[in-house]
Subunit: 438 residues, 2 copies
């Protein structure tokens, strides 16, 4: 075949391809061809090399090419507070350490801290994240500049915000977010009532109306702790889940983070309403909140994704190690080694996360027509040799540092572990200055 | 001071020094001076540079110098079985997957697989390990060649071994181990009755006599699962711990791996007898064995170290991530975020491990007169910036790949993540060949 008959593409990524597609295909000596922001072919490298002319090729002996990971619950900018206080009761941690520093935050600090967290996310294989944090306009700005894909939301609650001030001003701020990022290739805006214990019923309802107007996600902390359930039950006579149901707010665009404390009836209800659940095992462990009943939720047909939460309560945003912990935690909690298999856990961090975000048609697997969000891991390492079963290695042995290349929306954002979109040293240096001022 | 008045040393390692010594000193802009196999000074870099002439200097901007990690329970050679089977009930996993492959092992395979595991251990900050596996002579050979520090033991049980054959031949094999490695600078031999459910009382007693003759450790799996406790109780009318007590075998040189299923009385007994406990949280989680009562054991004054177990049930030998999991697991299991602080957890993986091995006078902290076993981590990374509290970062955020240099017994075994004692590519390549034959 002559060059004239070949199709032009921008990028060819070669290696063992773990597609996680409908047929769960694994292609040895495979390749993914990318044109603009889209995957245009997935198949044997020899075929794709015949079919396409490309501007750039990424390849690696023992490279594993797979969909980028999806982190469904983060407060990215909390990277600036990582390790400032640990091993404390939740309320002491929040009231005496986190809230006083958060009161000092500014848009600029949040921007810098989000860049820092995005560096860490890209370097550990994440290509999409679903965030909720103060100064969301600056979170979105950092995300767009980094070439990261983000679902961004500003948390609203009944008390004044260090960002927009009076609660009523929050709606205008969120409107402005929707306006600015309408049809943005990387940024999708969501609404974020902080929780049922910090938001009045009126605020909860109005934010759902605002979300629905934009067909947007409704991102909320839900049933994270026993204390939360107790507080809400005392105040409203029912649990947080039942409270949202009574207000008519539960549907398939609700992303409920944590869901640690649930009854079986509540699990059935969440399943019937097609509510999506963001599971954050490491944060729930570190804050001693409890163990979310994920195997039961999965069996009930609930879409569960994996989140790291903020890195002040984790303390990292590495989804590869989060998968490891998730699988092991549920085995020991149920005393059943067969729950949460490597395959199920890997699905939560990829396609399950994409489904949670309503983006399964665009991300979470490698197939022609999908957005080109993919990562390459170097398997030529002691802890990944020999290789019997790829999902096992990804869940139980791989770590963030094994990711060498990352492509988001067709753009190579990391090559040979060097971030191409940001000046890493400048971000680190700026963060040291900021932390010195806290 | 002129050069003539300086003392000659071999190596100076500069950075922030986390000594973990009696005063828990942290020295900014510090240095550790090494002569032969021993630390000869720890202090401010400016002072040590005045006092010593050195042949080699290791330094790194934002480098953290700390004692090498101590892995107190491993089956290193099981690296060749990592990921061959996961997510199965324990007995299915053992009988249908692990034992059939273990029957095919040879000294050469164990040698190669131990090299592989040692590569991974060095690359993730471990400088000492306490191992129990078939063909221990080959484990010891691999350890000595790697420049690793190891406590090595051959497991004995009532049935024939793929290594030495008939159980009675096991004692001669262990005698030969003691003989060959007497006074070896890196290798210490221990005895290893596999467990109370696989060893007759007679075997248990005779191995203790052999251990005591050499003042050696007695390394045994103990109370790992409910099934084990049930089996032993049915057979001997008492629990595994009580069984060892009745045989008069519990003392300060017993290293009991796992100790998941313990009563309060048994914890008191282990404390009184000064038995040492090797805690392996990730393996206990993955195999769904349960959660060892570590906070209670620590409160009772028991010396607890941290182990990874074999990488077929973990599936790695990275003690940095094992610390993270350990701290979080006990918080969520007790629903108390204050248990297992970063400091306590770090102590388990360093000085606590050294104490368990009876080697606290030689390793586990950085102080003049101790053996030079130390590692250097690169803190100039997104997930370790900013830095508020070193133990927090080490336990909750650092990963194996953050370790850049490693020194064992005064020898630089890894420099800039390149292993100096082994041909890494050759080990990986050889392991791929071996695995293809299973």
């Amino acid at each position: 075949m002559s060059t004239q008959e070949k199709t032009a593409a921008d990028l060819l990524v070669c290696g063992t391809i773990l597609t996680l597609d409908d047929k769960n295909r694994i292609i040895e000596n495979g390749a993914v061809a990318v044109k603009d922001d889209t995957i245009v072919a997935v198949g044997p490298a020899a075929e794709l090399e015949k079919d396409f002319t490309v501007k750039e090729e990424l390849s690696l002996e023992y490279g594993l090419v797979m969909p980028g990971l999806v982190n469904v619950h983060t407060h990215a900018a909390m990277s600036c507070l990582r390790g400032i206080a640990d091993d404390l009761p939740l309320m002491t941690w929040l009231n005496e350490h986190i809230f006083p520093v958060e009161a000092k935050l500014s848009g600029e600090i949040v921007y810098q801290a989000t860049l820092l967290s995005i560096l860490e996310m890209i370097r550990s294989g994440t290509t999409s994240f679903c965030d909720m944090y103060l100064f969301a306009m600056d979170v979105a700005r950092a995300t767009a500049e980094s070439g990261m894909r983000g679902w961004i939301s500003e948390p609203l609650y009944d008390f004044p915000s260090p960002n927009y001030g009076d609660p009523t001003a929050g709606f205008d701020y969120v409107d402005e977010l929707f306006h600015r990022y309408k049809d943005h290739p990387l940024i999708t805006i969501a609404t974020a009532p902080h929780s049922t214990y910090t938001c009045s019923p009126d605020l909860l309802v109005k934010l759902k109306e605002q979300a629905d107007l934009h067909h947007a996600l409704y991102h909320i902390h839900l049933s994270e702790t026993l204390d939360e359930v107790k507080t809400v039950t005392e105040r409203f006579g029912c649990t947080p889940v039942k409270h949202l149901e009574d207000l008519g707010l539960l549907d398939s665009r609700v992303v409920a983070a944590h869901c640690v404390v649930l009854t079986e009836d509540e699990i059935d209800l969440l399943a019937r309403r097609e509510v999506k659940v963001a599971h954050c095992p490491e944060s729930n462990m570190k804050l001693a909140s409890g163990v979310a009943p994920v195997p039961v939720m999965l069996a009930a047909g609930i879409d569960v994704g994996l989140g790291t939460d903020g890195s002040a309560s984790n303390n990292d945003v590495d989804l590869l190690s989060e998968m490891d912990t998730a699988a092991k935690l549920h085995k020991v909690h149920t005393l059943d080694p067969t729950v949460m298999t490597a395959e199920q856990t890997l699905a939560m961090a990829t396609r399950g996360g994409a489904r949670l975000l309503g983006a399964e048609d665009r991300i979470g697997s490698l197939a022609s027509g999908k957005k080109a969000d993919l990562i390459v891991l170097d398997l030529n390492q002691p802890h990944l040799t020999p290789l019997y079963h790829i999902p096992s290695h990804l869940v139980y042995a791989a770590r963030g540092a094994d990711v060498v290349h990352s492509v988001i929306n067709g753009k190579v954002v990391m090559k040979d572990r060097k971030i191409t979109t940001l000046d890493e040293e400048a971000v680190l240096s700026k963060m040291r200055e900021i932390a010195a001022g806290f």
